[in-house]
């Protein structure tokens, strides 16, 4: 079955990130000069303007910063079977913020500050999307 929803188009800045997702590893850039983590991937560290960078594997832990529940599908044909779904901004343990989906959770049960962890969803053979699910109480 063809995947019709938007698929990321990796570029020279982001190829490493999406390759990491494909192998179910959440990779982040870390500035080699000042240690600042950054996401989305970019060519220059906005904190110190260095171009030197290392890629590190993130913990995959995050907290919910903000979220929405999409109830009206746009475009309809692509999302009518998905609604309601949750899009969230999550703050990664390493600092940067990511847009993602919260899955494995009633959309009405999402709360601010909720602890979540990364889980990869296969979209195609080449692309896996980093989504997040609630961390079960007591799990570590």
């Amino acid at each position: 079955m063809t995947y019709a929803k938007p698929l990321p188009v990796p570029d020279a800045d982001s190829a490493h990130f999406w390759a990491g997702c494909r192998s179910h590893r959440l990779l982040l850039q870390r500035c080699r000069s000042c240690g600042t983590h950054r996401y989305p991937a970019g060519p220059v560290c906005p904190a110190c303007r260095s171009r030197a960078v290392d890629w590190i594997e993130a913990s995959g832990r995050a907290t919910v910063f903000s979220w929405i529940v999409v109830r009206h599908p746009v475009p309809r044909d692509l999302y009518q079977d998905e609604v309601p779904y949750v899009v969230a901004l999550v703050t990664l343990a390493e600092g940067p913020r990511m847009a993602t989906n919260i899955i494995g959770c009633d959309p009405d049960a999402v709360t601010a500050g909720m602890a979540v962890e990364v889980v990869f969803r296969e979209a195609t053979a080449e692309i896996a999307l980093p989504c997040f699910r609630p961390v079960l109480a007591g799990a570590r």
Partner: protein
């Protein structure tokens, strides 16, 4: 260093009808609004030498409009790629161009078939290149979806309620009822607001602005010249454009914005009021960019009409009503008049300052604020009669 206070004026305004299906080209709409602004000022197209606009790949180039109008020699023409953030910026571009000697008489317009043509609210680049690769694959595609994230953050941080958001929508509608140009003129109650369906939680249908076909235009020239023209001139006291750090890679992107519980407004406030030489307490009428209800709260807070986080209680207490201390969006705003991307706010501010606002006139309005923008960047003007 701004030393241009009251040196430039809006000498003419013009609009088309606002509708869902104009049946006209954007070029027709733009030309019609520009000719109306010139006629209002009593200036011939032969005298125009500058023309500026903003667009979202949904409009017509400034030189195309100048060509339609038979402008003999354009010396300054700029098409700024932008969203609502640019709606006041283009007026400042006109001022800057005249001050720099690049032009003398400058038309500013925004024209779009925003409902029957390209629907800005309905989606964006689905190919997920560039910054979009980090958002669209998660089904985060439309502007209502983008800005609901900001609204939620304000609710988390300050306890802002649906009823407070609803007050913005209801106030706009009450004003639109009195505005013969408004697209939505049926009265709206809080119950109507709360009963409207969720589009993208926390936004209900009535938190979201209209989609419109139409155009608005203004004519900017020197104050000494404007005094000799047909209308009472409206002076530009000051204006500002900008936002904070990490404004993002396009108008949707705010992944690196520090905190979505506030927007651009706080970052331009000191610049704006410093240039204008007045403060929030001096404003008689405020036309505040309202693509969504929440953005009014953030701009009221950011520009200092109330404290950070208190926008909800401020509007719930009736402060923004037409007969309240700070009448807001007297035309009905983007929520109920029309979505001409914030440029209709400029038209309304000028109408109010001239005393031409009819049934919705704020008595003795001397100083008006217009704002434009809802997220990481925006612009504002302070105008006086």
């Amino acid at each position: 260093m701004w030393n241009l206070r009251d040196k430039y004026c809006i000498a003419g305004i013009g609009s088309t009808e606002f509708s869902k299906a104009s049946g006209r080209t954007v070029l027709d709409l733009a030309s019609t609004a520009c000719l109306a602004a010139l006629d209002d000022a009593g200036v011939s197209p032969d005298e125009v030498d500058g023309i500026v606009s903003f667009h979202f790949n949904d409009s017509v180039p400034a030189i195309a409009v100048a060509t339609q109008l038979g402008v003999p020699a354009v010396r300054y023409a700029v098409d700024t790629a932008g969203g609502g953030n640019a709606a006041n910026l283009i007026v400042l571009q006109a001022v800057a161009a005249i001050e720099a000697g690049l032009a003398e008489t400058v038309l500013c317009y925004r024209a779009m078939n925003g409902r029957s043509g390209f629907r800005l609210g309905g989606g964006r680049d689905m190919s997920a290149h560039g910054i979009t690769q980090y958002t669209a694959p998660f089904g985060w595609i439309t502007y209502p979806q983008a800005m609901a994230m900001w609204c939620r953050r304000h609710m988390i941080e300050y306890g802002t309620t649906a009823e407070q958001l609803g007050q913005v929508a209801i106030t706009a509608r009450a004003n639109a009822v009195l505005n013969e140009r408004a697209m939505q003129r049926l009265p709206m109650s809080m119950d109507d607001y709360l009963a409207s369906r969720f589009i993208v939680d926390p936004f209900r249908l009535y938190d979201i602005c209209l989609e419109s076909d139409g155009a608005c235009a203004v004519l900017v020239t020197r104050a000494d010249r404007a005094r000799d023209l047909r209308q009472r001139p409206v002076h530009i006291m000051g204006g500002a454009y900008g936002g904070g750090p990490n404004q993002g890679e396009d108008l949707f992107d705010a992944l690196r914005w520090p905190d979505h519980s506030h927007n651009y407004a706080r970052y331009i406030a000191a610049d704006l009021w410093g240039k204008a030489g007045v403060g929030p307490a001096d404003v008689d009428v405020a036309e505040i960019y309202d693509c969504f209800t929440y953005s009014v709260l953030m701009q009221l807070e950011g520009l200092g009409f109330c404290r950070e986080g208190e926008g909800g209680p401020f509007v719930a207490d009736g402060n923004i009503a037409r007969d309240g201390p700070l009448p807001v969006n007297t035309h009905g705003g983007l929520l109920s008049e029309a979505y001409i991307h914030g440029f209709n706010h400029v038209i309304e501010a000028v109408s109010q300052l001239r005393g031409h606002a009819g049934a919705r006139q704020v008595p003795d309005a001397e100083i008006a604020l217009t704002t434009a923008g809802a997220m990481t960047c925006g612009s504002a003007l302070v105008l006086r009669r």
